[in-house]
């Protein structure tokens, strides 16, 4: 399979993720969309790495996963804290800080 196809798939998933972030207002879903974006990048890295006969990209994927895990922890922490304060995870309710 050509490398471009992989990258296209990665691009599609990345864009879908970005789209999700743009349209959804549920914090959890936004977070999941972000995870989609990360995964798209991972897919790209692995594909490129495989194509170039290198390993560094694969290593990168591992670190992205680690970071994703860490972010998941933070994100859900924030979601819980936010939910406690506002009783919702609608990000439109995060409107206290504005000019």
């Amino acid at each position: 399979m050509s490398i471009n196809a992989y990258l296209i798939v990665a691009g599609v998933i990345f864009c879908i993720g970005a789209f999700g972030v743009l349209i959804r207002k549920n914090l959890i879903i936004i977070f999941m969309s972000l995870e989609l974006m990360f995964n798209a990048a991972n897919l790209g890295l692995v594909a490129v790495s495989g194509y170039l006969n290198l390993i560094d990209g694969d290593i990168f994927v591992i670190f992205v996963m680690v970071v994703a895990a860490a972010e998941a922890a933070i994100a859900l922490g924030i979601a819980v804290a936010f939910y406690r304060e506002k009783g919702t995870v609608d990000i439109d309710k995060a409107n206290e800080l504005k000019l």
Binding site: A18, V21, L22, K25, I91, D92, A94, N95, E96, L97, K98, L99
Partner: protein, 627 residues
């Protein structure tokens, strides 16, 4: 440090010191300041006389006090040029000043600003002396303005009176208008000749194109018009009568106003080189002489009448210098200084006696109450009317004769008519004020002035009687002519004599004109043969014109003052506040506007933040394509 140097610079030093002393320490001197100030001027007068003799028997000289402005190629020193012209002016200036000073001691006795008065009077004398002895245009210009300033401050001496301070201001500003021209003349002269020194300039005149010289001469003449109150800048002088009367006598009759004439005489080389300029001088002089006399006919303010007569007489002098008869002009200047100073002093004496009353209609029959004043006034009036053997006769006739003989008949006719009118209006004053029934407020205690005032008047009156004989006709053989003519030998003879009408014929015409004027006045005001009212009614438009001073003030007000003020208001309110400042503030408020608009981007909604970010990404990616 020769004697000449010392004498020359001592002359201005005394009045200068006087100004300084009374200005700073006037209140410690109390009444003595007047005496000491007068003494200072008298010393100046004596020194001037010494200088006069030195110059008469030797020759003129130049002396430099110190280098004044040395900027690059512009080098001017405080230096004096002493020749016959300047010494004669010096003697006249210091002499009249001394008398006026002495007179003022009495006149200003009870005034609060006694010291201030003498301080400025001394300053004026100093400035006038410097003006006369200056050897370069810059110095001349400086003291030209300085006398203008003294005039300003002395006219507005009684500053509480709005009219007085207005008049002072007006005098200064109108003078400035003239000086504006004068200054440009100086600039032009400097750039064409590269110097401001008289001698050098005069030497270079022939090498300058005539047109340039004409322009220069006209510009310098503009200054003279302002200073000597010629039409159209004469408006300040009548108003200047708000000042103390001795000031009018000294500044606005004898000395300062004649500075214009002196200046032209001084620059005879330039003026005579340009015939056109001289003709302009003649025309203005002729017109002003007539014009001012015309206005003087119907006025009731005694001082204003004399003021208009001054303007008129100055017109004669300009006629003289306009036709190249500089000596005649100077002669009339000297004699006029004496008799006009006299007239003013006597008028002051009348005022003194009447507690400041100036309106002719409230006088009458004063002859019996103040004999000295009346007699001296009549002497002055006769001199002004040109009745022999008073000085006015000799000097005015010298001018009119020259005018006629040089072929300026029109000017001559006007001159004669003016002479008639002059005699009429001054005797109108004499007859109304000193004779006939008294209209004086009965509560007033009319009294003769003290000795300290009358003595200078008497001296001047005698001078008015004597001085004319220096110029016994025919004028170009007289003492005065032979003394002064030497200084004008460099003048270009642009207006040669074309007639040789004997002097006595012309004099006769003048005397007749004068007598006719006196007689008319006699008929009208003593005999009451004709009721003045009827004449007034017959010549209603002309009378109104004359009575309202030809509406010159109103015209100026309408075409200059008001437009300038409203234009200024426009500049300030519209251009400055609305447009320029508005633009500046507009920039600020537009920033505030945009700042508020940024709230749309920074609205606190996470969604829109993400949107902004993504749009940024899209735009950046897009940039690669469009590049």
């Amino acid at each position: 440090m020769d004697a000449k140097f010392i004498i020359t610079w001592l002359i201005p030093l005394f009045p200068f010191a006087g100004w300084f002393l009374w200005g700073l320490f006037g209140k410690y001197f109390k009444g003595y300041s007047g005496y000491i100030a007068s003494a200072f001027v008298v010393i100046s007068f004596i020194l001037s006389s010494i200088l006069f003799f030195i110059v008469s028997y030797t020759h003129g000289f130049t002396t430099t006090l110190y280098p004044w402005i040395y900027a690059a190629t512009f080098k001017v020193g405080v230096s004096a040029d002493i020749d016959r012209l300047s010494v004669i002016m010096l003697v006249m200036v210091t002499g009249v000043s001394a008398l006026v000073h002495i007179y003022s001691i009495g006149y200003m006795q009870d005034d609060k600003g006694f010291a201030r008065y003498f301080s400025f009077l001394n300053l004026f004398v100093f400035s006038m002396i410097m003006l006369v002895i200056a050897n370069n245009l810059l110095l001349l210009y400086v003291f030209w303005e300085a006398v203008g300033f003294c005039s300003y401050i002395l006219i507005g001496f009684w500053y509480e009176k709005k009219s007085a301070s207005d008049a002072g201001k007006k005098a200064f500003i109108v003078n400035r208008v003239g000086d504006f021209g004068f200054a440009i003349g100086v600039f032009l002269l400097f750039i064409t000749t590269g110097t401001l020194n008289y001698e050098t300039i005069f030497k270079m005149i022939p090498s300058i194109p005539t047109i340039t010289v004409t322009i220069i001469a006209l510009l310098l003449f503009a200054g003279a018009v302002g200073k000597s109150a010629q039409f159209p800048l004469h408006v300040w002088l009548p108003d200047a009568m708000e000042g103390p009367t001795p000031v009018s006598a000294l500044i606005h009759a004898a000395t300062m106003v004649t500075a214009g004439v002196y200046m032209i005489a001084r620059f005879h080389v330039i003026f005579s080189y340009s015939q056109f300029a001289s003709e302009v001088v003649l025309t203005i002089g002729t017109f002003t002489a007539f014009f001012a006399a015309f206005i003087a006919l119907t006025q009731f303010d005694i001082k204003r009448i004399i003021a208009y007569s001054t303007i008129s007489q100055l017109g004669y002098m300009f006629m003289a210098v306009g036709i190249g008869s500089y000596t005649a002009g100077m002669f009339h200047l000297i004699s006029h200084a004496v008799f006009k100073g006299l007239l003013f002093l006597t008028a002051g004496s009348v005022m003194h006696g009447l507690a400041g009353e100036l309106d002719l209609r409230k006088m009458g029959g004063l002859y019996s109450k103040m004999k000295t004043t009346a007699i001296t006034f009549i002497v002055g009036g006769l001199a002004l009317s040109g009745i022999p053997p008073f000085s006015g006769f000799f000097s005015k006739d010298a001018i009119l004769a020259d005018v006629y003989n040089k072929g300026f008949y029109f000017s001559w006719v006007i001159g004669e008519i003016t002479a008639l009118m002059t005699a009429f209006y001054i005797f109108r004053v004499i007859f109304i004020a000193f004779f006939g029934e008294s209209n004086v407020d009965p509560k007033l205690h009319v009294h003769e002035s003290p000795k300290i005032m009358t003595v200078p008047m008497i001296i001047l009156a005698s001078l008015a009687l004597i001085i004319g004989f220096l110029g016994i006709p025919p004028f170009n053989t007289s003492v005065f002519y032979s003394f002064l003519h030497v200084d004008f030998k460099n003048a270009y003879n642009f207006a040669p004599f074309i007639n040789n009408t004997p002097w006595y014929i012309l004099s006769l015409i003048s005397v007749l004109a004068g007598l006719l004027g006196i007689f008319t006045a006699y008929l009208l005001y003593i005999k009451k043969a004709i009721n003045p009212e009827t004449i007034k009614n017959v010549f209603k438009p002309i009378y109104t014109l004359s009575y309202n001073k030809v509406y010159i003030d109103e015209i100026y007000n309408f075409i200059i003052v008001k437009p300038v003020l409203s234009f200024s208001n426009f500049l300030w309110k519209i251009i400055d506040v609305s447009i320029i400042d508005g633009a500046v503030n507009g920039v600020a408020s537009s920033f505030a506007f945009f700042s508020i608009k940024t709230k749309k981007i920074q609205n606190g909604m996470l969604m829109s933040y993400i949107l902004t970010l993504t749009i940024g990404v899209v735009a950046l990616l897009f940039y690669f394509f469009i590049r």
